[in-house]
């Protein structure tokens, strides 16, 4: 009877009540049970065998879970109770910008007037969508100081690759394909990966002792084979590349282009624009800067905006305003083609536009200013506990280091991160960027209050005290979470990616 009791409505897996594991939906499955309800269609119920040749039929081999609607609801509700989220508490995950996601923007996206439109409907019947997309494109250009944008890329990484293909198309059109892309050593892993997929080689530029691109070394790496450079500014240390004008001049000098990784764009909204810094291509992570929810890992949206000389190469077709005031799909004259099956992650785009409209130019500027204020306050507040890797004014995030704790008590950054979970905070980003030892990258975001920052600081102080009192306890943290520290190595050693693999 044990396996029988497993399936069903026991909620001991909800942390509210206990710490048991939640059975999988397959363990809950009982043959013959079902939840689905379909409309009555009165379509003739011809036997499938009369419609489709037997060679194509699978012989009913397919097995999906069989649960009642009641158990479906209980299962996924309980799973949701085993999941941290922005709506539960602070999520100071550096580089990920886990700010509050306004529910209003979700409501906008759930309107059937946007949500139930088929992407292949004739443009004449979807003028609202086309206008929305054009408006968003113009808005993003205003924010970045660029000439035009594609909204197709589905996330930041897709935007990067799109940007690199634009570079390639541009150089190729000039009869000068080029070979290398420069990337600082502090860059996010997507940057070099995108470079490779874009058919380029990576040249890594070291950072100087201020955490910034070493201008001299950069210059030394430049040459006529350099297609461009990828930068995020502020960089992944949360520091502004102060010599950006010089960098831009140097790269442009050799005919290279500048790519702006917009993951940190939220730091500079209304303060400085990538276009004004000399960038030619900018991707934005709408799920970061413009607060569309991350969905546990996606969806995102990664529009790419470009300067005038790249406009004709943009992916297409693009929603475009035409003379008579209507909107149409137009493919740019030298378009690299589609980078998404349809028009990009449209509902994410709509959410972002709603977010921007609520804030306006003034609000977006406040977003950046308060994000930077919060990060600096936190950095300064934690000085004695977790020093910053580069202790000066930072932008929207700060990279602190647990090296002192490690040296003194053997407590690593990971231990601090895990202990924070028990304190009611999500962990910061750990061990990134790679150039900082025991890095703990905190991005408080502008939607967290001073009170929350103080609570975080006090929690970290408590953990630092635990490092002195009970370092071993910290190695075992967290314990109050739905599961305790998870064995990641075991998972990689013996891959079990499915229930079927598990039961084998």
């Amino acid at each position: 009877m044990t396996s029988r009791a497993l399936s069903g409505g026991r909620a001991a897996s909800a942390p509210l009540l206990g710490h048991e594991t939640e059975p999988t939906i397959f363990e809950m499955s009982v043959p013959g049970r079902s939840a689905y309800q379909l409309r009555t269609t009165n379509v003739p119920a011809t036997a499938l065998a009369e419609l489709i040749p037997a060679a194509h039929l699978n012989g009913d081999v397919l097995d999906i879970a069989e649960v009642s609607e009641r158990d479906l609801v209980a299962h996924f509700t309980r799973l949701s109770h085993r999941q941290f989220s922005v709506d539960l508490g602070m999520y100071p995950l550096g580089s990920c910008t886990m700010k509050y996601n306004p529910k209003f923007c979700d409501a906008v996206a759930n309107d059937p007037g946007l949500n139930s439109v088929h992407p292949a409907s004739p443009a004449e019947l979807t003028q609202g969508w086309l206008e929305l997309l054009v408006t968003l494109e113009e808005t993003l250009c205003a924010v970045t100081g660029m000439a035009a944008a594609t909204l197709q890329p589905a996330a930041g990484a897709a935007g990067e690759l799109t940007g690199l293909l634009l570079m390639r198309a541009y150089h190729s059109a000039n009869g000068d394909p080029r070979r290398r892309i420069l990337i600082p050593d502090s860059a996010h892993g997507t940057n070099p990966a995108s470079v490779t997929l874009g058919g380029y080689e990576v040249t890594t530029i070291p950072s100087n002792d201020r955490g910034l691109v070493d201008l001299e070394k950069l210059k030394a790496s430049l040459g006529p084979d350099v297609a461009g450079i990828m930068l995020t500014n502020p960089n992944t240390l949360g520091l502004f590349e102060e010599e950006i004008t010089e960098i831009a001049a140097a790269v442009h000098e050799v005919g290279g282009l500048l790519y702006y990784d917009g993951a940190n764009l939220n730091a500079i909204l209304g303060v400085v624009r990538p276009g004004d810094m000399g960038f030619d291509i900018v991707h934005m992570n709408l799920h970061k800067t413009f607060a569309t929810p991350h969905g546990g890992g996606g969806p995102g949206a990664g529009p790419v905006a470009v300067s005038q000389r790249l406009v004709d190469f943009l992916p297409g077709p693009k929603a475009t305003r035409v003379e008579d005031g209507t909107h149409a799909w137009v493919k740019p004259s030298r378009s690299i083609g589609r980078v998404h099956g349809w028009h990009g992650n449209a509902m994410v785009l709509a959410r972002a536009l709603a977010y921007i409209d609520v804030h306006g130019g003034d609000g977006l500027t406040r977003v950046a200013k308060y994000a930077v204020l919060n990060a600096n306050w936190l950095r300064h507040r934690l000085r004695a506990t977790l020093p910053a890797a580069y202790d000066r004014v930072c932008m929207h995030e700060c990279v602190l280091t647990a090296t002192p704790l490690k040296n003194a008590y053997g407590v690593r950054g990971l231990d601090v991160a895990k202990a924070l979970l028990e304190e009611g905070f999500h962990s910061p980003t750990v061990y990134f960027p790679l150039i900082v030892e025991e890095a703990l990258m905190f991005e408080p975001t502008e939607t967290e209050s001073l009170q929350t920052l103080e609570a975080l600081a006090e929690a970290i102080e408590r953990i630092a005290q635990r490092a002195i009192d009970d370092p071993d306890g910290l190695h075992r943290a967290p314990q109050t979470t739905p599961v305790s520290r998870v064995d990641e190595a075991r998972a990689a050693r013996h891959l079990i990616p499915t229930e079927d693999a598990a039961s084998r």
Binding site: H56, G113, G341, T365, K418, P497, T498
Partner: protein
């Protein structure tokens, strides 16, 4: 002031004082003045939520083809399937919606287990054992499949059936600009890929679609044989709903399955966010793009889930990574798991069966109309192409006046005349029937089309 910022003026002053500053601008003093915006952004002032909502009615009311108001017979990879309230409610729970990638498994078992269940379902639907946690959409999933085939074979030639969705092919071509893959398209003949017409030697992948984009169910044995003969991987883009009754990619011998997961709980959504389904044979595990969740134990020996094989991923492998995917489509994957849980074994079979019944019923009625002809004589599932003797785009607009979204114009879909279709491509209409379409709606379709083409 309408925004989401908690800072009161007093707090800002206090925080600045703590930093030894007297203005917010001082925080930005290290930014070279030359590049700083002096005037602020050239955007309107912020508006309150209800004002923005009012503004948005401008967009929503100008969208005439909403499935909420117009009966939808459009498909082309995006389908109007039933999405019950219960699935929307569960998938909309804010713990799922507002979580990040599950980097800290101890507080992310909710998303991790849901992905694990999703992965299990995808392997069952595809008949292939190694899934990932989702990709952006089917089109970019195909690109990842080509990259995987390249990695496995070190070859560059990709032999792709013209039956693969035109947008997917376009996307593959775009990204081939970077990877340098050579894309070889194989034309259709009577709606079926003419594999015999192509030189597949030295191919990394043989790529087919099941059904193909014109709705035709091709026998996949030929494609499989070609792959085997040339030591290429067989990549099959398959409709996951069809898997309810039709052979899975695995049953057809595919090495890699890609598919579009939109039909599982995701609305039409003007094309996104959708869900790139992906699975492969275990030989390809180490080349898997994107994230994968695996089972493990916690320090107290309890079953737990975690993202694993991280060493493949871009943030660790950097320029040596074979995929740059970071953010994926987790929420849609979770949605698909919930929707499939709702459908269950019987439900998926039922949906698939009803699609086929509806599509065949409409097809039979349509070809009775004078001037309407089938594009192919081959079997189909829930979608088929017909020639209507008139410009399809024009006919669609006429039908829309009668509240029917009559399908997709193949010419509009392909952009350029499709080489695989002989004759006037402008006359070809792609028509879809899902389980949601009633007999009454289908009969009305016939009537409305008749009227539109003057029959």
């Amino acid at each position: 002031m309408a925004d989401y910022l908690p800072h009161t003026p007093a707090e800002i002053d206090e925080m600045l004082a703590f930093l030894g500053m007297d203005s917010l601008d001082q925080l930005f003093a290290h930014i070279p003045p030359a590049v700083r915006l002096s005037q602020g952004l050239d955007l309107p002032e912020g508006m309150s939520e209800p004002d923005v909502a009012a503004l948005f009615t401008r967009y929503t009311s100008a969208n005439q083809s909403k499935a909420s108001e117009m009966t939808c017979f459009a498909g082309a990879g995006v389908y109007d399937h039933e999405v019950p309230a219960v699935v929307k409610m569960l998938a909309g729970r804010s713990e799922f919606v507002t979580a990040y990638t599950p980097y800290q498994p101890e507080v992310a078992q909710g998303v991790l287990q849901a992905i694990f269940e999703y992965q299990t379902l995808i392997t069952r639907l595809s008949g292939l054992p190694i899934p990932n946690a989702s990709l952006y959409d089917a089109a970019t999933g195909l690109v990842e499949a080509l990259n995987m085939a390249h990695g496995a074979t070190t070859r560059q030639k990709m032999v792709i059936s013209a039956g693969v969705h035109p947008h997917w092919r376009e996307v593959a071509k775009t990204f081939a600009r970077g990877t340098g893959h050579e894309i070889v398209e194989v034309a259709l003949k009577d709606g079926v890929t003419d594999w015999g017409s192509v030189d597949a030697s030295n191919a990394a992948a043989i790529v087919a679609s099941y059904p193909n984009y014109l709705g035709v169910l091709e026998d996949m044995s030929g494609a499989k044989a070609l792959a085997v003969a040339n030591d290429a991987l067989f990549v099959l883009g398959a409709d996951p709903v069809a898997a309810g009754v039709l052979k899975t990619a695995g049953q057809w011998g595919a090495d890699i399955f890609v598919g579009e997961g939109q039909p599982f709980g995701t609305p039409l959504a003007f094309g996104g966010p959708f869900l790139g389904l992906f699975a492969c044979t275990s030989e390809q595990t180490r080349r898997l793009p994107g994230r994968i969740v695996g089972e493990t134990l916690d320090s107290n020996g309890r079953r737990s889930f975690v993202t694993t094989l991280r060493a493949r991923e871009q943030d660790i492998r950097r320029e040596k990574a074979t995929s740059n995917v970071c953010t994926n489509q987790t929420l849609m994957a979770v949605t698909a798991a919930i929707q499939l849980g709702w459908l269950g074994t019987q439900g998926l079979r039922e949906v698939a069966t009803r699609c086929a019944q509806g599509a065949h019923y409409l097809f039979d009625e349509l070809v009775k109309i004078e001037g309407v002809r089938a594009v192919s004589t081959q079997p189909f599932f829930r979608e088929f192409a017909v020639r209507i003797g008139h410009d399809a785009s024009t006919v669609l607009l006429t039908m829309a006046n009668d509240g029917v979204l009559g399908g997709v114009s193949v010419a509009a879909l392909t952009g350029d005349p499709d080489p695989s279709l002989d004759g006037e491509v402008d006359e070809v209409l792609l028509v879809t029937v899902t389980e949601r379409r009633t007999k009454e709606e289908i009969d009305r379709y016939v009537e409305v089309l008749r009227k539109a083409i003057g029959q």
